[in-house]
Amino acid sequence: MKDKVAAIIKAYGNDSSQLVSILQDIQTEYNYLPRAALDKLSRKLDIPQSHVYSMATFFRAFSLKERGKHICNVCQGTACHVRGADLILESLERQLGVQRGQTTPDHKFTLETVNCMGCCATGPVVKIDDEFFGHMTNDKVEPMLSKFKE
């Protein structure tokens, strides 16, 4: 882990003003922000741990908890909301058995929400990993999830 974190920091020229981008890359690597990685980051950039944690908790994109294999992101933007995005979220919560922000016990899915993904015309939108699902309805939720269940 040490080497990977060091390589990410080095790619940004050990520049602490790039902290958000560095945290993004660490999260991409590990799927969340592991404690050990943040320790390393704090020492390497010579910034207090409290500052690293204040950044990691301020921005909603970051997770300090281990996330599931697939990240299921439900858009809650206005365009999606007026077309019933909250009902899609509730349907996903029921079917996955977890609330937003939580990970299923088998670590397959983490259910997250996002405020807009920039494809509002196709709302309500759900994104699982890198795949977009537009014009969602409640009855499309199960077939969508089953694609990722194997």
């Binding site: 909603r60 509002c120 015309a121």
Partner: protein, 621 residues
Amino acid sequence: MCMAGKLKTAKALAALQKRLAEEMDTGKCRISLCNGTACRPYGSNPVAEAFKAEIEKRNLADKVEFKITGCHGFCERGPIAIVDPGNVFYQRIQVSDVPEILDNSIQSKAPIERLLFKQDTGAKSVARQNDIPFYTDQRRIVLGNNTRIDPTSIEDYIAIGGYTALSRALFELQPDAIIQMVKDSGLRGRGGGGFSTGTKWETCRKAHGDIKYVIVNADEGDPGAYANEGLLTGNPHSVLEGLVIGAFAIGSHQGYVYVRNEYPLALKNITLAIEQAENLGLIGKNILGSGFDFSVRVNRGGGAFVCGESTALMASLEGKTGEPRAKYIHTVERGLWDRPSCLNNVETWANIPLIINNGAGWFSKIGASGNSGTKIFSLTGKVNNTGLVEVPMGIKLRDIIFDIGGGIRGGKKFKAVQTGGPSGGCLPEKLLDSPVDFDSLLKAGSMMGSGGMIVMDEDNCMVDTARYFLTFLEEESCGKCVPCREGVKRMRQILTDITEGKGQLSDLVLLTELSAHLKDSALCALGSSAPNPVLTTIQYFKDEYEAHIKDKKCPAGICKALIKFTIIDEKCPGCGRCVKTCPTQAITFMGKQKPVVLDQSKCIKCRTCYDICKMGAVSIE
């Protein structure tokens, strides 16, 4: 196309431009497929792959030029392609349509009827893009080039005249003259505030300090707005060219592009564009031999809405949490690292090359008095034709929603249009004839914002909409100032109570009072404009609030605590579809041709049965 090394003079750029323009004019038929973010959920990626494979398989490269472009705007009908010559507009393309499109295009046959646009099933089809009502009323000076270029190719951008404005700015104009041009054009900031861009540049140029910064605000956090995304993804060089011109005018040598991390494609394309411009010497040391140095860095956001606010964005650029500060001293005087900083929205920067190329007079004639130019809106929600639209300012809301947007889906009744994101307001039918410009929208209680335009119909509840925005703002409030941290929360709690049937008439007075305090005392625009969704809905849709409070009813049938789903026995054919889909087994099958029975105690009001029933046998009370 092979590229020369760095361009060292304006002449070298002009020569390259001439050569690329000639190479682009191949005489081959050209198919431009939209592969913007909104077309991807429709499967534009597999369609693009199918085109490439088919062209290679049939060895058609010398007959067809296939281009993958950014957003064409008409997202509702994706995936979209335009075939030239002929300006033929194909929509909802599937992988299986690809061979036929290729055959037709090469042999210049009549367009394929089933892939042409029709507003309704019975309507006449329209073959040419320029004849489709969605496009005819637009004025696409900023977005229009999206259909002509591959956003990942700087050659394409140069071939259509890109970076000419930069060359002109560097060699024919002095910084003061550029600023004067931008002032004369009347360009106002497209991020929402609508401040004069030229004046902002002038103040920044005059501010004390050797080191100054220019910043592209691409942290388009307004939910329901993706105009910046479409522009940055589809034509990143236009934004970059504007930025370099601005830097030269202001006297800055370092620029930043702050992009939302939720826009991966925009991030990728702008990062690539910077690299390409550096390789050609259009960014870097001694640009085109002018002696002007400029470099740019891309920073990613972390999903915080408040970072769209200039001081919060700058804090985030410094590697701090994105909390705004009071603006006693403006950021053009002391911004990033306490140095003069000029921050403009993506769309503002993209307008700059147009002004330099065509002149301030040309620009100021577009749009309305005091509101020159065009504005890109993301037209979404309950309209027929959703997508990105670029219109001259001063156009009526009605023209956007009913002419360009094609009216309301499913023959429903228009209720409201929401502009300006969470800081904006909901405008009713009686204001549909008011012009869309910075000042008129403000007067109506809303604002331009970054260009979200969300249309709502009779099935949307306005109290729920206000509660939605306040929930959003409560989550996104950074918590630094008390009025926003506590005030927004209280307002959201009161609104939630009303949607749950626990409201009182005095709540409306309380909401109005809280709004006034918040407007006066919040630290930044997130808090001070947070009351807008509440105030406009109370002002224009008071009857809905009263129905929730007095009658304990939600007229639109949205607020769960106030509605009940029932089966209309006469309409129910007993097909059992709802029985199978009901997640809580609340509906019981009673035998064929007998109406199903809904158990209210088990119903969670998830609406699945209502949506799935084709007979309209489920009603909401």
